[in-house]
Symmetry: C2
Subunit: 189 residues, 2 copies
Amino acid sequence: MNYPSGIKKKNVKDINYGNRGMSLESDINISNEYYLMNDIAIIHKKPTPIRVCKVDYPSRLDAVIKEAYYKVPSTTDYNGIYKGKYLDFEAKETKNKTAFPLSNIHTHQIKHLESIVKHGGIGFIIVSFTTISKIYLLKAEDLINFINTNSRKSIPIKYFEENAYLLKYKINPRIDYLKAIDIMYRGEF
Amino acid sequence: MNYPSGIKKKNVKDINYGNRGMSLESDINISNEYYLMNDIAIIHKKPTPIRVCKVDYPSRLDAVIKEAYYKVPSTTDYNGIYKGKYLDFEAKETKNKTAFPLSNIHTHQIKHLESIVKHGGIGFIIVSFTTISKIYLLKAEDLINFINTNSRKSIPIKYFEENAYLLKYKINPRIDYLKAIDIMYRGEF
């Protein structure tokens, strides 16, 4: 960008922090920090799985990894504990305006969420439709129900409007998805 | 190895599976697979956190990581769900014969386990004394109780003998630590 002389760049960063949010991952991580600091829930993002092939030093403290590859994750990205309950979810962004392509989630991640629910945990996905600035929380039960009753390879936004919880941006926590959990599972725990 | 002619290698693998076990991490991972396959519990080891500095290709699928460093983990290594309960633990090996040095566990990992218990989850550590071939499961409550009432920098083996559960090797699951959980938390869930 070309700035007219005399105008400083210092507010540029603020402009990025509007209602549109940063990446969904950052927003969720910041919300999790808020939950942790305020002793509301303990939810962490799992580290990205990486297959390390070459390391330069034998001691782990000094080690420099020289060759490594990203692995396909075997579970979802986030899990933790809230009100004594096990909680597990995946967060995804899509630029698509009308539907969420199921190719965005690995089959084994869907199976994982299904097992979590079966074992008495709370499973869900958070989907951010970035182009239309809408973020939904969809229960794993409803995600699986859609897959089992449809041959479509994407979930239309209408299904989210009818079955998911619309998450709004706040100051703190940035995305209060646990409030959605309270509402969607009312009376269940 | 040199095999006399006519004798096949097929039993060599069995010999490695004695009572001594492989590394504690492998043994726990194999046990977790057993729990998963038999629909008993869903417990995974978190990937090792790695800070990636240099990647060769922009696409994640083709990416080769060229410079990366190990990070200090912010939580424990394992978590998951068992009988609807959130479960969280750290596994450590020590060559020490008489005590478990507390320097083996990061302070924030202990704080993490303390929070888990406070939030209604099950937290514990599994300690393998490799030299004397004993593996103990110690509840987070007892770990924290020791730290709060002692100035010692290691937990003597006597404390494990009196407060922890001695885990024995089995065929399947290799280390049946959930059986220990059933016994130690009897009536609580």
